[in-house]
Each structure stands twice: as C-alpha cells, then as structure tokens.
C-alpha cells in the first residue's frame, strides 16, 4: 500500500534539482560568501555571490544534505541570478516555499529554508561591510 502523496511531495523537478543541481560549485573571489548548516540533520548550504552595481551578476551554491535543502538552494540560485541585491533581500519564506510547490511538514521546514538563511545572512552581512 503505497501512498501516492510520495510522488507529489518529491515532485520530479525537485528530484531533478537534487540530482542535477543548477549553479553548483564555487566562485573565485566572490563579493559575498556565506555558509549555514542545520546541525540536526547535517544539511549544509553555502553560497557565493558576485555583485556588480548592486546586481547579483553570478551565484553558485555548494553543500550536501537532503533533497529538500539542496533542491531549494538550486531553485533559489536560478531566481537570484541577475536580481538586484536589494530585491533579493526581500525574498521571504513564502516565496521559497511557493517555489518548491509542495506541502512541507514542520519537521522539514528548516531544510527548505536553509538556503534562504544563507542568502539573508550573506546579503545583510555585505550591507554591514558597505557601511564601514
């Protein structure tokens, strides 16, 4: 007795992003680089950004972990490329979950939002440096 919900949860594009992550790797001399982990399950996501005139010119992510954390990061990088940093800062939880397009249980929400945390801390970290 297999619940069909499995297939809805692990939609094809999520598996695809997990197995073939977009923008995966590192940037040389990034303007922003930040990594976060979720100690509970060992998920790690890091992101490198090249920012020119306030626009995210290039972005790469690296990490390891479950399909949800890695697919979420992959999807986020696709959205971020070419986006003004100020706009990227406004991306919120609902945007990320909406993009994943699945119902995430409370236990897995941290996996889904790990890459957003990387973006937020990274982007606001750069803002602090600018002010100095």
């Amino acid at each position: 007795m297999m619940a069909t919900a499995d297939d809805q949860f692990y939609r094809e594009y999520i598996i695809d992003h997990y197995k073939h992550p977009r923008n995966y790797g590192r940037l040389e001399h990034p303007d922003i680089s930040h990594e976060e982990d979720n100690p509970l399950c060992g998920d790690v996501v890091g992101m490198d950004f090249r920012v020119t005139d306030g626009v995210i010119e290039d972005v790469r992510f690296h990490g390891r972990g479950c399909a949800i954390s890695q697919a979420s990061a992959s999807l986020l990088t696709e959205r971020l490329k070419g986006m003004p940093l100020d706009e990227a800062k406004k991306i919120n939880k609902d945007d990320v979950l909406g993009e994943l397009g699945i119902d995430i249980s409370p236990a897995r929400i941290k996996c889904a939002l790990l890459s957003l945390k990387v973006l937020k801390v990274g982007a606001y970290g750069l803002a602090d440096i600018d002010e100095e």
């Binding site: 007795m1 297999m2 619940a3 919900a5 499995d6 297939d7 949860f9 692990y10 598996i15 997990y18 197995k19 100690p39 509970l40 399950c41 060992g42 998920d43 790690v44 390891r64 972990g65 479950c66 399909a67 949800i68 249980s105 897995r108 996996c111």
Partner: protein, 405 residues
C-alpha cells in the same frame, strides 16, 4: 531452562496505538506504552490524586505507597541491594547530570582524567565536558573499530593512565552495539576508577543486574521501557550516594530546616527535591510489572529474532549500508544509509506509508563524525515489533529508491 517466546499478537492488543496502523520502528527513541501503564496513571489521577510524603489523609497515603512501591519494583528489576540506592529522576539525562554535579564537583579535580567513548549519547558526554571545563580536567574517548565495537586495546591503555571516572553506555543508541560492560567495569574498578554505566538502551531490552555489573552508578529512563516520559532512575551504590551532596535543593529533600542550617533527608530522598512526577513513577512501576510478566530473557530473545530478520532483509537491499556489529552483538537497533538518498528524505517517504523511522544524528554527533556521515536512518525494535513492520520498512526503502532513481 527454555526461554519463553513472546506472544506478540497478544502483546500488541495492549497497545491501542497500533490500531492506527503505524509500523513503529523508533523504540530506541521512545517506546509505546501499554494500557496497563496508562491505566495505572489514570487510576492515580482519578482515584487518589494527591501529593506524597506530606499529607495525613488516606488518598495521600495511597499515593505515597504506590509511589514508593515502584522503588522496590525497580530495585528488584536491576537487582540493587537496597531501595536506598534507587533515586527517581526525570530520566537518564537528569540522572547523569545529577552525578556530574553532585559527585563530579566534589571528586573531579584539576588534571583528572575522565574516560568516555565515541559511541556515547550526548547526555553522557556534555555533562562531563561542562564538569571538565569547570575543573580543568581532561576527557579521553575510547574509539571504535570498523565493526562499530569499542577498541579494547585503547580502553586498556586509557585505564593505565588512572582515570578518576569511566562512563559509557552498555548499549549504543546509534549503532546498537552491546558493549562488554562486565569486563569494562571490572577493568575500570581495578584501576580505582568510579564507573557510571548509561543503561538507557540496555535496561528495556535485556536482564540487568547492577551488583553483578559492579558499577557505582547506573542510569536509565522509564519512557524507553514502556513507561511514561518524565520518570527515570539513578542507581548509585549506597556508600557513594551517602558521600554525595544534594543535587537539587528544596522541599522534601530535607530533614530539618533552620535559618542558620539545614540537615538533609536520608537516601534516596536526599536527591528528590520538590514535588515529584508521581503519576509517572507509578506508571514506571506498571511498566516494570509488564516487563517482568514477559520475562526479560524472552524480551531479549524476541528482539534478537527480529534484529536478525531485519539485518538480513536490509542487507539484501542494493545500495544500503548497515553500520555496526552483527546481530548477535547488537541490541534491537539498526542504523543504515542509502546511496544517493538522505535519511530525512527516506524518513519522509516512509512516513507516507505510516512507517515511523528515525533519521538524524541520534544525539551521537561524535560518532557520526567518526563514521564520516552527517546522519543515518535508524530502525529499532521492541516487544511489540513484528516482522511485517520490517517488511513495510523494506517496501518504503524500495519506494524511495524508485522515486530517487
């Protein structure tokens, strides 16, 4: 004497939760509780709910008698010499913290060596780290070999350095490894160490005799052995407990309190400050009765049977790695990983099939680091586990492999 066989179908009728259709493979985390346990607790709430040790009326007398009756049941269950050696705690974690605080602060000095193992649970690591930092003491960890068993050569070497305290789990919660505890305690005692055994994963699953074991402290939780959460036990050898100062201070742990000076209560109440988890302790007593009725030899035999079955079934799955020793030297715990599928994804897919599976670091991050993994999936078994639950797990694994193919 032939060991009885558990009548699992009959046992399962005592656990209403199985009517939901779940396959529960997470008993190393917390067990399910039979009607006998919840019934004993309900009876307290509905018939003699009152505080213990301090009221003169009949229902309070009844509550006190039932509360203290658990102490004798537990004493007999682990073969302690006296009920004075049985201290109620909230669980294993509190029991170990009690020892780290009340024994450790008095006895661990600067430069002293504490020996732990890499397969210990965080609750048997972090309290000692805090103590070691405070006292400027050192901690060394016994490593494992490739089968997930403690390296005895290294253990012997560490004992030669004269540790003040040796603390280890009898059974690893993450790998299921059954440690050679009798030998380890004897060796540690020969070099004069005080020994604490973390019995959280052993007490529910095999006969325990603390006097034969010879340790100074033995800690375990009620909620992993059919009892409720919030009630656990610290066994301590009487002379060791006598020499210790209290842990928590307050009501019920005192004899007399004057503004200038307080005298403490006798054992074991010296360590039981404040209003206790009365219903939970009564529930724990009912859990011990239940396990005694089954017979702990029969419990171990059943789990070995299930573990052998599961070990074989899981080993047959392509791309699956099982961690730890063979079934004969492990308790009913199997940790594993799947190629290309994170344990959390597997657990989510299993959950859709009502299979309850643990995924994570199992509060044993040093061990996960040692194994070179961030997390594993873990199936664990108990008196009510049947083979079809293992079959359902294997189906979920295959479903996960299909989705991630």
């Amino acid at each position: 004497m032939a060991i009885r066989t558990l009548d699992v179908a009959a046992i399962r009728k005592d656990f209403p939760i199985f009517e939901t259709g779940i396959a529960y493979l997470d008993s190393a985390n917390t067990s399910q509780r039979p009607r006998q346990v919840t019934g004993a607790m309900l009876e307290y709430f509905e018939k003699f709910n009152s505080n213990i040790h301090r009221a003169a009326y009949r229902i309070a007398e009844e509550a006190t008698v039932r509360y203290e009756a658990t102490r004798e049941k537990v004493r007999a269950f682990i073969n302690a010499a006296s009920t004075k050696e049985i201290v109620y705690t909230r669980g294993t974690t509190e029991a170990i913290n009690l020892v780290a605080y009340a024994w450790g602060r008095k006895n661990i000095k600067q430069g002293d060596l504490i020996v732990l193992t890499i397969i210990d649970h965080h609750s048997n690591i972090v309290p000692w780290q805090i103590l070691a930092a405070e006292k400027d003491a050192r901690i060394e960890y016994v490593d494992i070999d490739d089968r997930g068993e403690l390296r005895r050569d290294q253990f012997a070497e560490l004992l030669n350095r004269g540790p003040k305290l040796v603390a280890f789990n009898l059974v690893s919660n993450a790998l299921g490894t059954i440690n050679p505890a009798h030998e380890m305690v004897a060796a540690a005692k020969r070099v004069g160490a005080t020994v604490l055994v973390d019995g959280a994963q052993s007490t529910p699953h095999q006969p325990i005799d603390v006097r034969a074991l010879g340790c100074d402290f033995y800690a375990f939780s009620g909620h992993k052995m059919l009892g409720p959460t919030g009630a656990g036990i610290l066994y301590g050898r009487r002379e060791v407990l006598e020499a210790m100062d209290p842990f928590m201070a307050g009501g019920d742990m005192i004899k007399t309190v004057r503004v200038e000076e307080t005298t403490y209560h006798d054992l074991p109440w010296k360590f039981e400050a404040g209003t206790q988890a009365i219903a939970e302790v009564i529930g724990l007593g009912a859990a011990v009765d239940y396990l005694n009725d089954l017979g702990m030899d029969a419990v171990r035999a059943h789990e070995l049977d299930i573990t052998e079955y599961a070990y074989e079934a899981l080993s047959d799955v392509d791309g699956l790695t099982v961690y730890g020793p063979p079934p004969s030297r492990r308790a009913g715990v199997i940790s594993f990983s799947l190629d290309g599928i994170h344990p959390h994804d597997l657990a989510t897919i299993a959950d859709r099939d009502q299979v309850c599976l643990r995924a994570g670091h199992h509060c044993a991050m040093p061990l996960m680091t040692r194994l070179g993994v961030a997390a594993t999936a873990r199936a664990s078994f108990y008196v009510y586990t049947q083979k079809d639950e293992v079959d359902r797990l294997v189906s979920s694994i295959k479903e996960a492999q299909r989705i991630f193919a």
